[in-house]
């Protein structure tokens, strides 16, 4: 998209037929929580696997009045987030923000923001692999039949064997859940820390897998239960005493990153949700 091009794109890039198809599928996804709804994923001017599923959802739901936030691994400033945000704003003119509380639509990869999202907000998650049954059934058609029969015995066995053998679940992120006591659903590579945020939430979660051409949803106030066992209950990554080195938060999902200094550098553990961390630091500085 060159600045000097005379060509004008459709509002929100996608043609109206593409948006309409995704809108129809989103309504089905909301009406059948956790069920994978096939859709005709379109080619976009970014590579598949870089969030085209989430992007197509955002482009299909966005209106000129929206305020958009885009994050990648919790970071608004990562290259991927910046590129997606630029593509959306240049084809819609919508306002953008890094503040979770100020956004009406948040598109994300691999995180749910730390600040609780409200009923007037929508979280769009980019999904690389949609079907959790791929761990036990690589054939998509057979997996679809298993979903139709709620035939999840193999998955329970797989999960149990992996906890018994490894002492912990092999599936560390994208932890499988049962939605509305019916469908097994992949949570995408969000950390286990974020999984409880899906349960009985105020906000609507929409999931888009561009490569696998699937859309699914978790409506607000929907029961979302992680697969777990009495002797091996679901646990998040939380460790007692953990603390963000920058803002001091003791109740966030942390990531380690390397910081260069005069001694060559060191590892620092800070909030993965960068905007939330910065907001806390700014608040502390304002009151100091």
């Amino acid at each position: 998209m060159s600045e000097t091009s005379d060509q004008l794109y459709n509002f929100a890039l996608l043609d109206e037929d593409a948006k309409r198809e995704i809108r129809r599928k989103l309504l089905k996804a909301v009406a059948i929580p956790g069920h994978l709804v096939p859709f005709a994923s379109r080619d976009l001017p970014i590579a598949r696997g870089w969030g085209t599923g989430g992007l197509q959802i955002t482009l299909s739901i966005i209106t000129p009045d929206d305020t958009l936030k885009v994050i990648d691994q919790g970071d608004d400033e990562s290259v991927n987030a910046v590129n997606l945000r630029r593509l959306i704003t240049r084809t819609t003119g919508v306002a953008t923000t890094t503040d979770t509380a100020a956004a009406t639509i948040i598109q994300t990869r691999h995180r749910i923001p730390e600040e609780p999202m409200r009923a007037d907000q929508i979280l769009v998650l980019q999904v690389p692999m949609a079907d959790p049954l791929r761990w036990v059934e690589p054939n998509l058609e057979r997996a679809t039949i298993m979903h139709s029969e709620a035939d999840y015995g193999k998955m329970w066995v797989y999960m149990y064997e992996s906890v018994v053998r490894a002492g912990d679940l092999r599936i560390a992120s994208q932890y499988p859940v049962i939605v509305n006591r019916r469908y097994l659903m992949d949570t995408t590579p969000i950390p286990r820390w974020d999984v409880p945020k899906l349960h009985m939430a105020d906000t609507l979660y929409l999931f888009g897998a561009g490569r696998e051409k699937r859309i699914y949803a978790v409506p607000p106030y929907t029961v979302v239960e992680p697969l777990q066992f009495e002797d091996y209950p679901f646990r998040t990554e939380y460790r007692p005493g953990q603390r963000c080195a920058r803002c001091g938060a003791d109740n966030t999902f942390l990531t380690e990153h390397f910081v260069s200094d005069s001694n060559g550098g060191r590892w620092e553990t800070t909030c993965s949700d960068a905007a939330y961390c910065a907001k806390r630091v700014a608040q502390m500085e304002a009151t100091a």
Partner: protein, 208 residues
């Protein structure tokens, strides 16, 4: 930042804004949404000479195109393919008018259409999404009424909603609509003021 897109046309704008209301209402049964004013007014009348609910028709049409099919009814009668309103909708959307059992969408122009719910597709276990989405026109949805009590996904505990001008048998048909989760039909009730109520197949409905 340079904007490289055309602004939406009035119909595209309606479709975009209406979709957000539909999505919000379906995700939050019991919440009363407000659809924007319809982008047209010249609809052919129903067989009894009355105009259809233009907002309900426009909301339904916002999801129609050449890849989907529709059916519509006045009273308890499906309207034929050659009815002026059928042709009017088909011409503007390219959607195919079909028989009820095959329809992706059903526009029921008044509450008597609830008697036809049983003829609509409820999907299959393999493809529960291959089901009919219904736009049902009702005289009035009340903000704080107590006609139906709702439970299920999208509702924190329970919700109540008021409906005026819907007969007891019609309310009973709404409450007992085809819904054997994950199968079922999904409903949008839309009143004369453009108020909208979503009732997905997941909602347990009780007539108060």
């Amino acid at each position: 930042m340079t904007i490289v897109a055309t602004p939406p046309t009035p119909i595209e704008r309606f479709n975009g804004l209406a979709f957000r209301v539909l999505l919000d209402c379906l995700a939050r049964p019991g919440k009363v949404g407000h659809l924007p004013p319809p982008p047209f007014a010249d609809l052919p009348p129903l067989p009894d000479g009355t105009p259809p609910n233009a907002t309900a028709v426009a909301a339904g049409m916002s999801l129609l195109d050449q890849t989907v099919s529709f059916v519509h009814a006045a009273g308890e009668e499906w309207l034929p393919v050659d009815h002026p309103l059928t042709r009017w909708i088909a011409l503007r959307t390219n959607a195919r008018p079909v028989e009820a059992a095959a329809a992706d969408f059903a526009l029921l122009h008044d509450p008597a259409g609830t008697a036809l719910f049983g003829e609509l597709a409820a999907g299959s276990l393999l493809y529960p999404e291959r089901s009919c989405t219904v736009f049902l026109s009702v005289p009035a949805i009340a903000l704080n009424g107590e006609t139906l009590r709702l439970r299920g996904p999208g509702i924190a505990t329970t919700a109540t909603v008021g409906l005026r001008g819907v007969a007891p048998t019609e309310l009973a048909a709404i409450a007992s609509r085809p819904s054997q989760f994950p199968l079922g039909i999904d409903l949008f009730l839309i009143d004369q003021q453009g108020r909208c109520l979503g009732l997905p197949r997941t909602t347990q409905i009780e007539v108060i």
